[in-house]
Structures are given as C-alpha cells and as structure tokens.
Symmetry: C2
C-alpha cells in the first residue's frame, strides 16, 4: 500500500454468476433459525427455487415441492444450495450421501459454510468424476482491483446501519423490489454470502483482502444508465469496533447518491459487544455523510429503515411516525411494507433540489 | 459478518518472529530506488544485518561487508533477505543460483515480492531438501481473531497520514528510537512488510482479510506494562478512496492514546490519484480523533511529522516553526531530528491534563 504506483496492473475479475435455478438442501435441520439462508432464498428468489430436499430427520420445511436431486434436475435445477448452517460450520457425515447423490444426478453444489466444499475429499473427488462444480460463496472473485475513486455513471443507494445484523440486506432487497414495482430500473447488489445466493451474483465483501475492499465495492456496482439504481447491501457499521473498516471501504467504493440508515429500535448495545453502545441515528447519518462525501460529494440520507419485528403493528406505526417527525425523514419497516415503504422509495429516488 | 455470534472460536495466531540476523541480497540492482527495503534495514536494523550480497552486475551498495552466504552464515546470519524490488515483482532467473546457494549454505530466505518464494518450484524443492524455510512477509499470520474492542493495558501511539507514502513508517521508527533514547520503554510495531523486516515481527495489514483487519491491529499491540509505549506504523489515510478502510481498522484496533499526523508539505494531490486533493492537517486530525474515540475516548493528537526531504534546512525549519504556531502543536521532521523531534516525543508521552 505504501506505493500505489507499484501495484501490478489489475485484471478485471470474473463475474460470480451462480448456476440457477436451485434445489434447496435442508439437511437434518430441526430449528428454523439454522435455515435462514433457505428461508431467505424462498422469500427473495422464489422463482429461482424449484424445490426443497431434506433428510428424514429434518423438522423444518419451506413449503416448496419436495424433490430428489434427480427430480429437481428434471425440473430444470442446475445447483443444490446448502440452505442450512450448523454449529461450527462443518459438513456432517450424514449430509454426504445426499450431496454425493446430487453431484451424480447432475447438480453443482453451492455452499457458504466455514468448511469449504472443496476441502471435503469425497465431494472433491465426486465433483471431478461427474464434471460438476463446487462453489463456495464465501470465496471472493480472484484478481479484484484496488479502488480508483473514479465516479461511475448511474445512481446508487447503500443501506448502512447502527450495528450488524439488523436488516441491511432485507432493506436493500425490499427497496430494490419496491423500486421495480414503481417502474424504476433497479438492481439489488449483494455484498454478503446470503445476498449473493439470492441475487445469483455479487461478492462476500468481508472475505476480501483489506487493500482491495474498496476496489471490490467499486466492481460490485459498475457503470450503468443514468436513470438506473443499484441498491447495495450494506455491511457492518462505521461505529463497530471490529467491522467499521469494511463499512468504510464499502461506503467509499459504492459512491452512494443516497443512504438509508437501518436500525433496530430498542437495541442498546452492539450485538455480541456488551458495553459498546449502539450509536444514535443522527450520529450514524452524520458520520456516513461526512465520510461518504469523499467519493460522492452529493451523498444524502433518504430515510430510515426500522426493524420492528419485536413490536406490535400499532406500536411500530406510532414509533415510526414519531421518529419520522423527530428526524424530518421518512421511516419505514420494509418487512411491513405499505405506504411508508413507498414514501421511503420516493425519497430515495427524488432528485435533490 | 452479519452475525458475530456465529464466528468460530478464534485461535491466537502464531507470532511472525523472523530468523535473524540477516544477509541483505541486492540482486543485480542498478538504481537505489529499487533497493529501498535494503536501505531501510541498513538504517533501522543495522545491528541485525551482518552484510550484503550482490550479483556482479549490481551498481548499488549499502556500505556493509560484502559476504557470500557461507561467510554470512559463519558470521551468524540465519536468513537471506531479498532487499530489492523489480518491476512486476517477479524473481528473475538470474537470482536463482545465488538464492539456491544461500539455501544450500544454511540460510532461510525472506521475501516480500509479488511472486511468493514458495511459488518458484526450484526454491521450494531446494528448501525442502535442505530443511530451510521460505518466508513471505506479505503473508499475514493464520487464524487472526476478529476485534474484541476490549481496551488493552499500556500506552499506544499511531502514526496517521494525509496520504500514503509520506513517512508514517519512518516517523514511527524515529519516535520509537527517540523514546528509547529518552529512557522510555517503547517498541516499534510494524503493520507493513518493510516494517516487519525491520522489526523482525509484526504483520502486513493490507494483506489481511477485511473482516479481521481490526482484530489483526489488536493482535499487533498486545497488553503491556502501563508505562510501556507501542509506536505503531500507520497505513493509508482516512481520506483515501482506496485504503481508508484499512486505516480505520488500524485506528480502531490500535486504540491509540496519541496520534502523530504525517504530512508532506506541498503535496496537493493523492499519490497516484490525480484530481483527489490531499486533505488539510486539521481535517486529518479531526477525522482521526472523531473516529478513534470509538475504541479510546482519551485519544489526542500529540503533533505533526513533516516530510521535508525536498526543502532546504532553512526552508524546512521556517515552515515547521510557522505551522507549529498556526496549529498549536509541535511539528518535526523525524529524519532531521534535533530538538524539534525531542519536543514531539515529549508531547507524545506527556500525561494530558
């Protein structure tokens, strides 16, 4: 990093387009919390999921057609996605027979666990034998460039947060969907592994080498038509002691025209970091705008996304109305949708005066 | 990153202590600019360099004893360090005979080029045959933790900058040396590959995966005696479109009690980024203090380090006096040393009132 001029010439990385549609594998999962990836795919990429496939021990279903790998292949599936996590991130032996069957029946395997699929010798050998691919969405593309700082064409929105794990991905997905419903040309851009599975492309920014993180963010939302919106999934928080660097690289590389601040009302301490206070919404807006101006001087905050899953509908509505008044900005819970979400979308795409 | 609780349990990484002392290899270098690493080692780790070793074509010397690998080994050397760079970062074929000789004569090889030593089959085979190590200082230690945000004991100083490549490493080295000369218990902590070679330990922060960058910075300056100072080599700049994320992770993980802002008077645009203005010193102080308070609320700016290598002694002195008055902070050029440097050291270690 000490001498940018000495950086070897960058090569444009290959796109990470995933084989689709998917068969969603649920393993032997007994609690829905461990099937978040599968539920996310069902909710946000339903048209690209031909069915689900589970071991007899599984206690969780998605409501999709139950298909064997062979049936899924016949229905057009091109890959089996491991849609469940387990403690430690390993692939248990009980999963091997169904995964091997999927390879034999013509499906690629897609995983995002701590253990890479290619680290399992039986899977590696079977994939080679059947001419199938093992794709780990934790692996970023090779040959990412360092950031150039060059302003790109098209419009960009970035979801930012007061903490991790409070709805930045779902907010971006919801806003992209609501934009398209409003007739706006918009794409969701995934910066994390579940998002990559949903979008079928993107990259896991947290796995990129630090020097290339802003460059990866630039690569994620390339030049586009002047009226096109990229809605970019945020990561971490500028006020997080472990992940602020990732958040800043994503902010700088995204060059957002608009940010939406994601927040969970009532969360007082950073998740997993007792004693570390969640910053205020105002502080989060101010910090993101101040730092974001470096690569887009026209950056503005379009509004706020609340995760109100722990509140009743009435409580949520009252709180969002009060906070909207206090902050002078639209506030919506994208999962609840409705007029509040449409107002937030309008605030995102309006041309600032 | 979306769920910190799911992060696998961290294992403390092995220390990256390098085998020392060194024999410095100059290859066939004809211009001093390509031997910066060797000069840095000579200037800052002279007592750990037994000699230099070059091909007959070389036109650059360090003024150290010229030794063969065998002679260096007899003089106590444990490793040959590749102290030169060449365009493209490859290891030319003409270097292979001397490098193979060094392995045969009992030296480990240490490199930091773009091409990893272990990627060269002849070196890999010879190292295995002779039981020697090939060490790449571009490789960070394995199993780095994510940052905890926990405040560590001991005192820390971080050099920060208005841009890349303007003296953050030399400032940290100079301050650590001047502190020790003033009787203060101080260590230089290296965050880049040349610094790692000089210190004989540390890590190349720019090569760490983004999610672990702040954790790597925490690991770099562990708990210490309350009166001990770690003087940490800074990286990049918070106002750099490509590297600000690395700088922020280092700032958060370092938890500095004091920062020293490094600046090159007269530099108007970021190196290699035409059109991107160098931020003011005041903006750089303010941004670092604001963001640094997250992990150390007591952070303060102790003073400024100027790189005045392009000015005369008189010009430099006048400029530093004027800027010191304007900013109300000590300003020194560590390479020029003198009373200004001692005043900067006093400002670094003074207990704020």
């Amino acid at each position: 990093m000490s001498n940018p001029a000495a950086t070897p010439a960058s090569v444009a990385p290959a796109s990470l387009d995933l084989p689709q549609p998917y068969l969603l594998f649920l393993g032997d999962v007994v609690h829905p919390a461990f099937a978040k990836t599968a539920f996310g795919l069902r909710d946000w990429a339903r048209e690209r999921c031909v069915g689900e496939y589970a071991l007899p021990e599984a206690k969780v279903g998605l409501g999709l057609p139950a298909l064997t790998p062979r049936q899924a292949r016949d229905a057009g599936a091109r890959a089996l996605v491991i849609g469940v996590a387990n403690v430690g991130g390993v692939i248990p032996d009980t999963w091997l027979p169904p995964l091997l069957q999927a390879l034999a029946d013509g499906l690629d395997l897609i995983g995002g666990m701590h253990t890479r699929l290619a680290e399992v010798p039986m899977l590696r050998d079977a994939a080679a034998r059947h001419g199938r691919r093992l794709i780990d969405v934790r692996e970023p593309p090779a040959a990412l460039p360092t950031a150039s700082g060059r302003k790109r064409s098209g419009k960009r929105l970035l979801t930012v947060g007061t903490d991790c794990a409070l709805g930045k991905k779902y907010t971006a997905l919801s806003l992209a969907r609501a934009m398209r419903e409003a007739g706006i040309d918009a794409d969701f851009r995934a910066s994390g592994q579940t998002g990559v599975l949903i979008a079928g492309r993107g990259l896991p920014l947290d796995a990129v080498v630090a020097d290339f993180a802003a460059g990866a963010a630039e690569w994620l939302s390339p030049d586009a038509d002047s009226a096109h919106w990229d809605v970019i999934e945020g990561q971490g928080s500028l006020s997080h002691p472990a992940y602020a660097g990732v958040s800043l690289a994503l902010l700088h590389g995204s060059q957002p025209d608009a940010i939406v601040v994601c927040h969970e009302p009532g969360r007082r301490e950073l998740l997993g970091y007792p004693g570390h206070a969640v910053p205020s919404i105002e502080e989060t807006i101010d910090l993101n705008l101040r730092l974001g101006r470096l690569t887009n001087p026209a950056i503005r905050c379009a509004g706020i996304s609340f995760n109100t899953s722990h509140l009743s509908a009435d409580q949520a509505q009252a709180l969002m109305r009060d906070e909207s008044q206090r902050l002078g900005l639209p506030v919506a819970d994208p999962i609840r949708g409705g007029e509040a979400l449409r107002a937030l979308v309008r605030a995102c795409v309006e041309t600032p005066t």
